[in-house]
């Protein structure tokens, strides 16, 4: 349970980190360089020697990337914002309650104290909570490279497959812009795991926008652990007419999970869990939106 040897580089600024990543990508295309942020997935894999990077670029000391900025309609989160901050910071929780709930489901407190938003997104585990939350929120991910400069990637386009993103080897995830919760919007996040802190077997996240009369104006919902990446499953054409009931959510969840092909030993069981999580998340989101409206009235 000891990691294989590697070369260690400590970045003192974002620019220096980009130089290091650029230099290693340029020097030897076969050499495997990984970015070390919180290390809560990377060290597990390295201790088990499932990952044996040749070189680590440690960005853990870049305090500038631990900052958050509150804009009018969105919140900008640094790549090094920790799960525990997302979970417990009252100001962030007010703007991004779905993200706070998702972050609170990750591992255990000691893991959340170290794990970072950028690390979770870059790792791209299909069962991870934050990639799903970013997808449902329609977040925009900012990446930088020493040679090709800055670009943004929509959360929908960010994950290519299991543990694989559309970032290039010399690119670093720096910031994430997350549209904040709007009035009339309720959130739902439900996950099933064999025990607290364990990897999710299935999970659903959603944002449900409710009109003042109680009818549903919009739904955006997604699933984790249901495919090789987090999935958006809501279909804009499937409107909900009138006031939704328990059956409405059951029907929608069944409809939106009908074609899932989970990569698990028992796809029927996973599909069942996805449907149950989704139905519960939709009902929770609607109830929260209505409660907020009643409190505001």
């Amino acid at each position: 349970m000891k990691p294989a040897p590697f070369a260690y580089l400590r970045a003192r600024s974002v620019a220096e980190a980009l130089e290091m990543l650029g230099a290693s990508a340029h020097r030897d295309a076969d050499a495997h360089t990984k970015v070390l942020a919180g290390g809560q997935s990377l060290l597990t894999l390295m201790n088990l020697r499932l990952a044996r990077p040749d070189q680590l670029v440690d960005i853990g000391g870049l305090m500038e990337l631990s900052r958050t900025f509150e804009d009018t309609d969105s919140v900008v989160l640094g790549a090094l914002v920790r799960h525990r901050t997302l979970e417990t910071d009252p100001k962030l929780g007010k703007r991004l309650p779905l993200v706070a709930a998702a972050a609170g489901q990750i591992g255990h407190v000691a893991i959340r104290n170290r794990g970072t938003l950028g690390g979770s997104l870059s790792h791209a585990d299909p069962a991870a909570e934050l990639p799903l939350a970013m997808l449902v929120h329609e977040a925009v991910i900012h990446v930088e490279s020493a040679t090709s400069g800055r670009r943004t990637i929509r959360a929908e386009d960010f994950v290519e497959s299991i543990f694989t993103t559309t970032m290039q080897a010399d690119e670093l995830l720096t910031w994430v812009t997350v549209p904040s919760a709007r009035p009339g919007q309720g959130w739902g996040f439900v996950e099933f795991a064999p025990r607290i802190g364990d990897y999710a077997q299935a999970g659903a996240a959603c944002l449900v926008t409710v009109a003042p009369d109680g009818s549903v104006a919009a739904i955006r919902a997604g699933l984790l652990a249901a495919a090789d990446r987090p999935l958006v499953v809501s279909e804009p054409g499937d409107e909900v007419s009138g006031i939704p009931t328990h059956e409405t959510w059951e029907r929608l969840a069944a409809h939106w999970t009908r074609n899932l092909e989970p990569l698990t030993d028992d796809p029927d069981h996973t599909r069942h869990l996805c449907r149950a999580a989704l139905s519960q998340a939709l009902a929770d989101a609607y109830r929260r939106a209505r409660t907020d409206q009643e409190e505001a009235a």
Binding site: M1, K2, P3, A4, P5, F6, A7, Y8, R10, L36, G39, Q40, L43, T44, N47, L48, D54, Q55, L56, D58, G60, G61, R84, G107, H108, V109, A110, I111, N113, R114, R195, I196, G197
Partner: protein, 176 residues
């Protein structure tokens, strides 16, 4: 040493300046050395136990800048400039003292292997919990779920943490 050896990752020793239990520590460590191995093998602070070495069991939990972390999931070089507190460093901490007494009263340990990690996790839980909201059993169970005990079955541990959280006045003088 040849030039190649000098640049080999195995030979790379990284200078490290950190604080452990209030004392400054300066040394050069292999990049791949985990914080847990630094504490145990280099600094001989063997109160930090290693169970699974991949982040599951929680026995190696220590505080870094006042927050609980798995010392097996941190390289020693990552605590450059930080403050590390191990279970030895909590010897005179009043919260930890209360938990230890409560553990003794409620039979919260048997073989004791998981106990250092339990103490660190419970100390952070109690110290950082908002005082206006009493800790309930569900919250204690959820937080302590990151620490695995294979002896006692958790009942005594949970009772001890709840008691230590509820009654600061009991203090370390209450010897059961």
């Amino acid at each position: 040493m040849t030039v190649e050896d000098a640049f080999s990752p195995l030979a790379q020793r990284v200078p490290l300046a950190t604080t452990v239990n209030g004392r400054p520590v300066t040394l050069a460590v292999p990049a791949r050395l985990t914080l847990a191995d630094l504490l145990r093998d280099e600094l001989h602070l063997t109160g930090t136990h290693l169970g699974c070495e991949h982040g599951v069991c929680g026995a190696c939990t220590v505080l870094v800048d006042g927050r609980s972390v798995r010392s097996c999931l941190l390289f020693a070089v990552q605590v450059e400039g930080r403050s590390v507190v191990t279970v030895e460093g909590l010897q005179d901490h009043p919260t930890t003292g209360r938990i230890k007494c409560a553990m003794a009263r409620h039979h919260g340990l048997q073989c004791g292997f998981c106990t250092p990690g339990m103490l660190v996790t419970a100390t952070e839980l109690i110290d950082r919990h908002p005082p206006e909201k009493p800790l309930d059993e569900a919250c204690v169970r959820e937080t302590m779920s990151g620490n695995i005990c294979r002896c006692t079955g958790y009942q005594g541990i949970v009772r001890a943490v709840l008691e230590a959280a509820a009654d600061p006045a009991t203090g370390t003088t209450h010897e059961g």
